[in-house]
Symmetry: C2
């Protein structure tokens, strides 16, 4: 028995900002026959996470990425793996039965043959929209929670700056920081987003970086008492400006550097004298290293959501065909909140 699987692939390696013409929609036949000893599970994809870091897998690989499995090069023509939520179609494994809802490493397509050893878990927490398992309960949530609490080690009352603050991770960092009792300022790329951060998410302040001629002055204005924690999603000039405005013993958690992903000539050159004299720590991290805080992250996040103290902000597109534009839009700042593609109804 076979089904048709529509999926998205890159035509060739992408250097620079991605465009529609870099992608193609392909169709393949997928056999629904699974040899029990293969331990494969066939999943019908429902919701897929759309993440900026994937662009790094689409270009020529750096040595630092080569060492990391989920940063492995994406091969033109092949299916592209991504975190997502789906429903089990075929399984001979005792731990997954037909119709189970699962979250794990799926693909930019309608169906995924999940190999043994690949990330796949049954959904444990129910009662929330399924899409939450891709965003706020997924790696975006874990990166925000773990990156903020475990890497930045914030204290109530500290001054926290988040860039790309209306993005999938940034908006959660800001909300967690507010819940801790920090003073929180976010940067974003439009007036609509600035308004959203202040009025909907309760940030203390926010600014549109595209309207600022000098980022150092913008941060000076927003942080008259200096920055204690900077959660960096963008890199480049914003990182330099944040370092210039940091207080002694300030901490920078580098979650991503989206301004540098599509333009390798954009490189942050923070003032090292500041880093020495102000004893600043700059630390790169990956959500995958933060599993140690996962249980704490999940229980707190469920509690906050149930109490209405945390908002899961999502931006959902429909259908496999929308994946390329959803992805491209990340680099144009089209999304507010977590970018998700809904592939099929539950």
């Amino acid at each position: 028995m076979e089904i048709k699987n529509k999926y998205v692939a890159i035509k060739s390696n992408i250097n620079g900002a991605p465009e529609e013409s870099d992608f193609e929609i392909k169709v393949e036949n997928v056999s629904l026959i699974v040899e029990p000893e293969s331990k494969e599970v066939i999943v019908k994809n429902l919701f897929l996470s759309i993440d900026p870091y994937q662009i790094n897998r689409m270009k020529s690989q750096s040595s630092s990425q080569a060492a990391i499995s989920f940063a492995a090069a994406i091969v033109p023509g092949d299916a592209i793996d991504t975190y997502g939520v789906g429903r089990v179609l075929v399984s001979h494994r005792p731990d997954f039965k037909k119709d189970d809802l699962v979250a794990g490493l799926l693909t930019w397509g309608e169906y995924t043959r999940v190999k043994e050893g690949s990330l796949l878990n049954k959904l444990e927490i129910l009662g929330f929209p399924l899409s939450y398992h891709v965003g706020v309960f997924g790696f975006s949530g874990l990166a925000a929670y773990g990156g903020f609490f475990d890497v930045c080690k914030p204290k109530p009352g500290e001054k926290v700056f988040v860039s790309a603050a209306s993005g999938s991770i940034g908006n959660l960092v800001g909300q967690y920081a507010k819940l801790l009792g920090c003073y929180v300022v976010g940067s974003a790329g439009s007036q609509e987003k600035v308004k959203f951060l202040k009025e909907t998410l309760g940030f203390d302040d926010a600014f549109n970086y595209k309207q600022e001629t000098d980022l150092k002055s913008a941060l000076k204005r927003c942080f008259p008492q200096g920055i204690d924690v900077y959660f960096d999603n963008v890199g480049g000039k914003m990182l330099e400006a944040a370092v210039a405005n940091m207080n002694s013993f300030g901490r920078v958690a580098v979650c991503g550097v989206i301004s540098e992903y599509t333009n390798a000539s954009t490189r942050a050159a923070p003032e090292m004298l500041d880093i020495v004299y102000k004893r600043i720590t700059i630390q790169g991290f990956l959500a995958a290293d933060l599993m140690k805080v996962y249980a704490d992250f999940l229980s707190k996040t469920v509690e906050y959501l149930q109490a209405g103290k945390l908002k899961a902000i999502e931006d959902v597109s429909q259908g496999v065909e929308s994946i390329p534009s959803a992805f491209i839009g990340l680099f144009r700042g089209d999304n507010i909140g977590k970018k998700i593609v809904k592939v099929a109804d539950e």
Copy 2:
């Protein structure tokens, strides 16, 4: 009663590399009368520490320095404070009596009136040359020991890179790292220094950065298995090259950035993607924050010195008149080991 005090001052602020003409030798009359209630102590200076960071106090001040007392601006014409060792000439305080040997904040001159509250301690460990208290037992030693063990958190067998490795702090970092059982490579600016590091200090390898056309390749050659710990004394291109060659979870301790002190256009722009994917930490630190490891540092260092396992490398000039050239020479790489000026015989 008065004595003549010869001391060194800057004529005006220094921007760029210091030159002899930036300095002047001045003479003042110092009264030997101390009002007991002032709690001042008059010290005859014996050995003075000559440190590169002082150049930052001689130029226009950055906001990061303004917050730190010992980084306060040096005023043209005024005495310049520095760590040193001396002998008490006049004291009415019960904790210091005439002829006590002391270490603390003295001046680039023959005598210092040490004010109440300023750093001053009686020498506790005797049996070593007095100059050791300026170098290996002073802030250079503490920066090396604390910066390496407390900031870098090295493990035996890890691969350690030290820049300015024949300098006052670098040579000690390399020696401590060898004593821990690390693989240690240093960079320096001459063949003589490279030979010294390998043959006298037992570094596993060393290279002359001035003879390398590509620092990334040089580090690749010296670290086929990558760098776990980089003790940064120079900043600039060397920091970029080190980050490019670091292993996952690598740590960079930024002790100083001498390549950036006299040329503000030299700025390190490390590849942030490497910092994220390899989860690298870059941390600035100051020796003054490391007092928590002081007791441990001192006992270990005394033990290593007594056992002949650690060498105190010094480069001593004679007399107050030699201070400007001693200081200028730091930026030319003239010294091997700790640069010290001997002002007077004990």
